[in-house]
Amino acid sequence: MSAPGVASVPPPAVRLSGIVKRFGPVVANDHVDLEVAPGTIHGIIGENGAGKSTLVSILYGFYGHDEGTIEIDGREVRIGSPADAIAAGIGMVHQHFMLVPTFTVLENVMLGAEGGFTLGPGARETRAELARLSADYGLEIDPDALVGDLPVGLRQRVEILKALRRSARILILDEPTGVLTPGETDRLFEILHALRDRGVTILLITHKLREIMEGTDAVSVMRRGRMVGHRKTSGTSREELAELMVGRKVLLEAEHGAPTVGEVALAAQGLSWRDAGGALRLDDVSLELRAGEILGVAGVSGNGQSELLDVLSGIRPLQQGAISYAGRTIDAKHPVDPAEMRRLGLAHVPEDRHHTGLVLPFEACENAVLGYHDGPKAGEGPFVSPSRIRGHCAGMMTEFDVRPPNPRLAARGFSGGNQQKIVIAREIDAAPKVLLVGQPTRGVDIGAIEFIHAQLLALRDAGCALLLVSVELDEIFALSDRIMVMNAGKVVGTLPRAEADRNRLGLMMAGVAA
């Protein structure tokens, strides 16, 4: 019937044309076009704030869009609410899971698709459907487990099951691997491939180049609200994608020369720490940190890394064990407070810059002396000197390329990367002997990551001892000289970087000793 050569091409599963979304004066999506072929895994990559999440939120009906059209399987649809999206066969796995923690898996999967006034018949049907899905795709799960008790990997599986139960043919995943171990990530991609092979179209939103290269068939790149390129994954490279994302050439791997390791700068013996609820968060942790090296602490978020940083920096009082630092022994009987540690030359870049690193409503210059406000940087005696604080901050901003270089701007007015640069600049400026760094590049764009990594390595080469806590394995590999893996508050093992690979670390992060 139809012309040869055109006949068998199916319409795209999703076609977005000219999508515009404004939030007040900000254009979050600026005439975005996207075509996703059916039965493929299509990646959307971009930096934080590039508009990826907004775009898929529009597709899922969370936000209305101001201009443009949405076509599903070649037919134009109007999606005004998640209900419309579900009806159009779209399912979504959100970055922050949309699950009721006090419900069972079964109840969570049923919610919104109960089928009738009473729950009984729908529950039986859903249970059967879960059994079928678990057999078909390897999505095993106990339907009667409480979701709040499940590890994150399984919670995500519940999200996928929810979408499949509503017979989604298009599945959107928004940053699905942020909370997963490498092993869980591999498992997720196996499942996604199985789904694709049965005709499900998958839209994968991520900022991780590795996942795009390893897991997708095609990729679209967003930058500042615009679509800047569409590529077949097999026909592109990490470097090209990074350049598209940032808009200039970037060095993906920082130069990492051999370290010149010196004396032991800080040693910890048998640190244990219990939280208020009595749970053991740190379990007999010992470590040695030498001048001129970076010790990377790898692990899935919430396995004691945060508590380790807090105990070492003096934020949480020691309960058990001892720290020897700067000729002193610190234990439960001889506590220190963070100010004293700082005076002894131990600086700390906290994991959460919004809550512990910065005072967001304060000006950048005030933030740049936080913790050092008693010293000469801020003024004389009990008085602070605003002009000195501003001058100090202006110098710091030039050195660390903080944009905009305005010391009077409130901290919340900066992008994540620039906020992080302010925190790191403040701590490096103190010329520490030991620097504790938590998640230095969380939510930071590639350009700033490159810069921050270079700064941390320069500090190492200047003879500082660094303890780096990061949930990003790529970052651990890029910076560390030795890698310590934590699981459930314990040290699973410590490896020289040369002996570490992703598989081995992945197993250790899951608690399997090396």
């Binding site: 939030f23 939120s57 419309d84 923690p101 919610l111 919104g112 009984g120 929810k162």
Partner: protein, 355 residues
């Protein structure tokens, strides 16, 4: 022996009478709070319901054909007579209907503030309480000119006790007989409604689709929203159901248990119900237990008034009455069993996510 048994039964009987409004109010609060809407306005709704019920029952009971014809000539003379007889015959039912409507309206106002306009639940609830305390007196004064009270309700204008079949004869049978005659039989219909409300609420919460969604919206409204269900409409239905139950409770106070409206007649019962609901950990059966316990202590304290107890002397009535509150405080402090409220309780929901 038999005398002591009768005494115990009387206390239990009083327990039921005193607990009935608590149960209805606590179930109302439970439905509302499980959906995420704090219902500190229970007290005000209860009071407004009590007033509306007594006022309407009194007006309906005293309606005459002539009076109605004067007010609404379009009814026609015969029509006015018929209307008056309908009103007279079912006076307490008209009161009940009025109480329910008023409480549902107040619930909707609370919802409009907290759900649609994302206002503070406590402030809106307190406003409802103040509004009810003031308006009942003002409107009552305007209607009846009796200092804010309603006229006392006659027998036909209230819900009277229902004698169960064979209750009189059964009273003669030892032990079981009085139990049947005193405790089970002889309450007004709303007591039975209150007792029935508990299994109904439990069924609604745990066995129906609506209940599943209601519990979900109180815990994780985002999950409900992304499942394609309207968070707002769910919560509105919850506050309306709460209004319905409160209305019944209000009607009970003035038109069944009592005989007419007196200013401030709710006397903190709405707050006690709220405490009972917290004591019952936001669950229907445990909440019923808490309401019965509160009712029992009150009933027992009333019985012990002026009684000399061995060793102790005069019964410490005030101490007994204080017990429920002490227990609630201890529970909230986490001493025995943790009371975990619905996670999204009191948090407004809107799509203000991200930018």
């Amino acid at each position: 022996m038999a005398e002591a048994w009768i005494d115990i039964l009387r206390i239990l009987d009083g327990t039921l009478r005193l607990a009935a409004p608590l149960i209805l109010c606590a179930m109302a609060g439970l439905i509302s709070e499980r959906s995420g809407i704090i219902d500190i306005g229970l007290e005000g709704k209860l009071l407004a319901g009590a007033f509306a019920s007594a006022a309407v029952a009194s007006l309906a009971g005293s309606a005459t054909g002539a009076g109605l014809f004067e007010a609404m000539p379009w009814l026609g003379e015969g029509g006015a007579e018929t209307a008056a007889s309908v009103l007279n015959a079912a006076a307490p039912w008209w009161g009940l209907l009025a109480a329910i409507l008023v409480c549902m309206f107040l619930g909707a106002v609370h919802g409009f503030a907290c759900i649609t306009h994302r206002g503070d639940h406590i402030i809106s609830g307190v406003a409802v309480n103040i509004l009810a305390a003031g308006l009942t007196v003002v409107v009552g004064f305007a209607l009846f000119r009796q200092g804010g009270q309603s006229p006392p309700l006659g027998r036909d204008e209230r819900f009277g006790p229902l004698q169960w079949p064979g209750a009189e004869g059964a009273a003669e049978i030892p032990v079981i007989g009085p139990l049947y005659a005193e405790l089970i039989s002889g309450h007004n219909i709303l007591v039975y409604v209150a007792l029935l409300a508990v299994p109904l609420v439990a069924l609604l919460l745990y066995r129906t689709t609506f209940g599943l969604r209601l519990r979900a919206v109180g815990e994780t409204p985002e999950a409900v929203d992304t499942a394609g269900i309207s968070v707002h409409w769910l919560r509105y239905r919850a506050v309306l159901i709460a209004g319905l139950l409160c209305g019944i409770a209000g009607c009970y106070l003035s038109t069944a248990h009592g005989a007419g409206f007196v200013r401030e007649m709710s006397a903190g019962k709405g707050f006690i119900a709220l405490a009972a609901m917290i004591f019952g950990k936001w669950r229907p059966w445990t909440t019923l237990f808490a309401c019965l316990l509160f009712g029992f202590l009150e009933s027992g304290a009333a019985r012990l008034q002026g009684v000399e107890l061995p060793l102790i002397g005069p019964a410490p009535v005030e101490l007994i009455l204080v017990l429920p509150y002490v227990m609630t405080v201890i529970l909230l402090a986490g001493f025995f069993g943790k009371a975990v409220p619905p996670r999204a309780l009191g948090q407004p929901y809107g799509k203000g996510r991200g930018k």
